[in-house]
Symmetry: C2
């Protein structure tokens, strides 16, 4: 079974993954609290981290976070990271699939908006032995 197929089975990819805070006890010491992290949880967390683990996607998120309503359309985002529009569309799709962005069509343009809670949930999953 390929990685993607595995994820599909565990987390119902593609399309919004279940919110991290609904899926597992992540606050405040998730990595440390599970003596042996369940393989399914490990895959679910890895998928979300992987969505973040790309310079282009991080820059997209940083840019969006700084915009009014934390949103923007594809055409404005492409110049920001100096990549082609198809590539940007590809990255935005991944961010949306993992719940880090939402997408809304408004006329000709498509507006992507940050979901800060999704980012926080991942951050909390990494807060070990604290809080």
């Amino acid at each position: 079974m390929t990685f993607i197929e595995e994820v599909a089975n565990i987390a119902c990819m593609p399309k919004p993954l279940p919110a991290l805070h609904d899926a597992s006890p992540i606050c405040c010491a998730p990595l440390g609290t599970n003596p042996s992290l369940d393989p399914g949880d490990a895959v679910a967390l890895a998928v979300r981290l992987k969505a973040l683990a790309d310079p282009a996607r991080l820059q997209l998120l940083a840019y969006l976070l700084d915009q009014p309503n934390q949103e923007g359309c594809t055409c404005r985002l492409a110049p920001v990271i100096h990549l082609s529009e198809p590539t940007v569309s590809h990255h935005l799709k991944q961010l949306e699939a993992t719940g880090l962005l939402t997408k809304e069509r408004r006329g000709m343009t498509v507006h992507y908006r940050v979901v800060p809670e999704a980012i926080h949930a991942i951050a909390r999953a990494l807060h070990v032995n604290c809080c």
Copy 2:
């Protein structure tokens, strides 16, 4: 220039990356505070996130965090995640290269220990609009 070469130029790979909290203002709203995240910072953060973004490595960390002194040797780790020893060694090397683990030889065995601060630094880099 390949991705690895690019990282090497920016972050002096391989071997310990500079600690994240030394490299950039990450607490508490790093992604949101930089209007346009510097490409170099984006790569540096992406490298660390990528090190975390694997089920096997997450399980290794979770297991180690639960051990006395948050450490363990390769031979005990391999059975935990049901992968071959060479593969485990490969993952441990990556975690060490990004500063998430330290490594110490004690006689025949090699002990890897978690560096919680490194994990926290990454987590803080994702805490947007809070604290």
